[in-house]
Symmetry: C2
Subunit: 419 residues, 2 copies
Amino acid sequence: MKFGGTSVADLSRIYRVARHVKREVDAGHQVAVVVSAMAGKTNELVGWVQELPQVCGSKSPFYDAREYDTIVASGEQVTSGLLAIALQSIGVDARSWQGWQIPIHTDNAHGAARITGIDGSDIVRRMEMGQVAVMAGFQGLAPDNRIATLGRGGSDTSAVALAAAVQADRCDIYTDVDGVYTTDPRIEPKARRLAKVSFEEMLEMASLGAKVLQVRSVELAMAHKVRTFVRSSFEEPDAPGMGDFLNPPGTLICDEEEIVEQQVVTGIAYAKDEAQISLRRVADRPGVSAGIFGPLADRSINVDMIVQNVSEDGAFTDITFTIPTGDMDKAVHILEGVRDSVGFGAIQSETGLAKVSVIGVGMRSNAGVAATAFKALADKGINIRAITTSEIKISILIDGPYAELAVRTLHSVYGLDKK
Amino acid sequence: MKFGGTSVADLSRIYRVARHVKREVDAGHQVAVVVSAMAGKTNELVGWVQELPQVCGSKSPFYDAREYDTIVASGEQVTSGLLAIALQSIGVDARSWQGWQIPIHTDNAHGAARITGIDGSDIVRRMEMGQVAVMAGFQGLAPDNRIATLGRGGSDTSAVALAAAVQADRCDIYTDVDGVYTTDPRIEPKARRLAKVSFEEMLEMASLGAKVLQVRSVELAMAHKVRTFVRSSFEEPDAPGMGDFLNPPGTLICDEEEIVEQQVVTGIAYAKDEAQISLRRVADRPGVSAGIFGPLADRSINVDMIVQNVSEDGAFTDITFTIPTGDMDKAVHILEGVRDSVGFGAIQSETGLAKVSVIGVGMRSNAGVAATAFKALADKGINIRAITTSEIKISILIDGPYAELAVRTLHSVYGLDKK
């Protein structure tokens, strides 16, 4: 069971979390819990770290990531202890575990470490004795014997990794939404909660901005086949159905094979504030793509869709790609700098675009899914600027103001409105 | 170098602390620093722990001391990391150390643990390489592999213990006063700062309410002969004299033998809000004292002066003792409960008293020190209610309103006013 920062934001919410845990213990399950820092606490600590060099008169804003980790990990340390006390107060045996105590081994990439291994034996032994393990999320022990944090959203990753280490039946991620929906309910009120979604689909949805789970944690869940269940921490712990282990309210992210009635299309994702850059008359020779996208990556500009057509004359081609609107000025500046070495003509840019994506593992075995989307959008008079596809996803770049209309149109055309 | 909570209360004060440290590093010293939590932080964390069981509907206010330690120790963890970053920002190589990393071994008495051993080898090795060790105070690692805190004021103890472990030349305790005075300057403006005071004298002063250093840390310093230097963290780090390692402004607490020009009397301490209880016609037989003071100790009532005269008739005696005024009702209630079993007559009590104490290791070899005090007080018309003495201390119980006059009188009669 993993609870995020808003779920443990104050003492009364920690009490609520304790009751969620007690419900599962009372149902006879062996439980480990992973907690984030109290909401706002991590930001406060990070703020101090970032501000301090300047207060000390340093012209460099850099700081030691190992100290950053020591400082920031204290937030989860506090919550783990508080939840253990809350559980004890309602009669549930519990103890807190810090990353270094288990230990959760990480690499040395302080500030954004990756988990390299977990020794779950102590925790399993105590879980078998009926003790709830409350683990501080987001942290581990690096080879230098110092605390390492996993980067933002790391508590989800901690939870999935621990679930894998103790071979849990399920990893329940309690969050401020009650599951994964066929699309954003704020845009399409007919959006339905999915009972199950495959790892692959969830990966596409997470990276497309469905902010339910961090991409890293889904990747880890997929690699270790950890059945991950997204559910609401705001529901009353004793609400009807919450304690039904086989069928609680929420969305199960699981192996494709576990999803019996597979839909062709599972969901419609979207991303706004996309910007498009087109490079005209790009010399069509090896190394050109690296010359363009390397410098952008070096400056941490996240390039998303890339479209390059086969050149007509074998000498020049056009390359179009998308980036977040906020990075536009920076990107154009970088591209101007490499224009001569790479060799291209005009740089054309446009902001205020949107990307809508149709996602579903069923696409693999169903022809015509893309054609359906194109026709539906055309019928509404929505112009398609660019298209990219993968095995289980079709992404379409359109003008921003049409985003909501496009989402609703696609949601309807694939039958996602229906029960 | 040890810095308390007010010295690290915010980022700009942490910067000031870093400059104090840099001054010593620049002077060629190898430095380890011990820090407390930011002022107010420990109280906030303790408050959460104490409040939580009630929030969870528990009728018992008790909580797991191991979780308390995990939660509360996070305060020092944050400060140690911040100071390391501040030092790095001004060009001083530094790293933070948590109690479990060094490790500082403690016993299993969570919440009020005692240090059982420190492995200073890693720290010494890095200090020799020029790296400043910034250690989180107040904490260690218990045999159960969990964090243990040392109880309030524990950071002073951490500092002295670390100084002993690394065989430091000196343990500098930076505090909000600039040293130990011959008496409280708020009462006697002519009070002078002592250049040196012996461990034994400091122990008497600390336990008498001179709140400069925790008694435990002085005991530890005495046991390991750690030369402990009390100095001000509020002075500018580069003020004249601050960097004079042999003669900085402050008070050195050291072995008696190091104090060449020993005064007969070193200082005058006092404690207000004392209360007196006299038990009349106490049966004069073995076990009586245990029957009286045992139950008081069991209820954590701190009995201070105890006066029992030799009985006149061999059958009955009077026993007088002092306690804090706040414990009076509780104490009388306890005594009423044991009256029949112990056997005594009237309980007489009086509150609003004060204790003044004359302290000095020179007393051992100087007769007439006590007589001087009694005569000086008599000359001012101050009535003496009770007297207790030790080898290096004379304590006198008087009526509360005379406390300040008595302090000034004694300060003058022993020549402490003079340079």
